[in-house]
């Protein structure tokens, strides 16, 4: 294994019931790289993210994060690794009973024994980084959609993680707020040398922030390459995704009939 990879996924296969969701997925993310995982609904991108976070065990294959194979690691090893991982979930996943600052501070309380004053300063600094300075005492319900995403990002980076995972940063945001978040993602990589994985179906955002893009479709990787390589790909399905053309499904009459009749 090269020392340059922060994430290495080999031959990852996973099922929900008998349905194969990811099919021999290979992915390598270099240290300090912004990798965007793109794909339509049902492509498997969210499932891939959950595997990268160690939230699900695959049917087969391996996932190495910072050199550790998380498919074989113990709960304690995974917990230690999570100190180096930050996650910003699509809906924010903030606890509604706590203030924004308390939400941001949660990982510090869980993983460190820092002085209370130090933790409060770190949380406020992170809120400043995401342009939410002074909003720490509000409850999540008092924030707009864009502010919730930024608060979730503040919590994701509060431990200065080596790996940052970001699920749909731009979804549901107005274009200006979305562009602000894109700039912030790039700045975090440049300043903190974070390795960042962004799952999105927003093309503008993907093309702006990505060093490389991997395109998933029906659980398979169609292509991993630079923005230019993806734009100029001759793969029809990639072009369909870029041009928002609906998929023309080929119908197997026997299979279709079986699905309808349950036979």
């Amino acid at each position: 294994m090269s020392t340059g990879a922060a994430i290495e996924v080999d031959e990852l296969v996973t099922h929900y019931g008998s349905r194969r969701i990811l099919d021999r997925v290979d992915l390598r993310v270099e240290s300090g790289e912004i990798m965007v995982i793109m794909g339509g609904s049902g492509s498997g991108k969210s499932t891939l993210l959950r595997h990268l976070l160690g939230l699900q065990r695959p049917t087969s294959g391996s996932i190495r994060l910072l050199g550790m194979d998380i498919t074989e690691s113990s709960a304690a090893e995974l917990q230690a690794l999570r100190r180096n991982m930050g996650v910003s979930f699509q809906g924010g996943a903030l606890l509604s009973s706590m203030t924004v600052a308390e939400n941001v501070m949660l990982p510090l309380r869980e993983h460190t024994a820092l002085d209370e004053q130090t933790m409060q300063i770190i949380a406020r600094m992170k809120l400043e980084v995401v342009n939410l300075g002074g909003f720490g005492e509000l409850k999540p319900a008092q924030l707009s959609g864009g502010m919730i995403k930024r608060a979730a990002l503040a919590r994701a980076i509060v431990m200065d993680p080596k790996l940052l995972f970001f699920d749909e940063p731009s979804a549901g945001l107005d274009p200006v707020v979305a562009a602000d978040l894109d700039e912030l993602i790039i700045k975090l990589r440049d300043t903190m040398q974070m390795t960042i994985v962004v799952v999105t179906h927003e093309l503008d955002s993907a093309f702006k922030i990505a060093d490389r893009i991997t395109v998933l479709d029906h659980g398979r990787i169609l292509l991993t390459g630079s923005v230019e390589e993806v734009r100029s790909s001759s793969i029809q399905r990639v072009q369909d995704l870029l041009n928002r053309r609906p998929r023309e499904e080929e119908i197997d009459p026997d299979d279709y009939l079986r699905r309808l009749t349950g036979g």
Partner: protein
Amino acid sequence: MAYQVKTQDGYDIVLLTGDVDLSCSPDARKAILASLEQGHHTLVDLSGVTYIDSSGVASLVEGFQTAKKGGLRFGLIGVSEAALSVLELARLDKVFPIHADLAARLEADG
């Protein structure tokens, strides 16, 4: 991380070296606050710092705030490019008095 404290030209100079991260920033914090609690003007020399994380920066912030409350002078010297970019992320480069070295600080003090 290692640290040394020396006294020169009316300042306690806390020299931090190596990586200032979660594992050792509490020691840096104690050293900085100890100088201030003794009523000494304090500079933190970051010239030997290879990496500083948010807990390290938070210690600097707390030091600055303590100095202000006590009417003491405080500042950073020898800030490396890596440390400066971390400070810039939270716009703290606009908050801390930052000078190249002790001589530059003394000149600014007038």
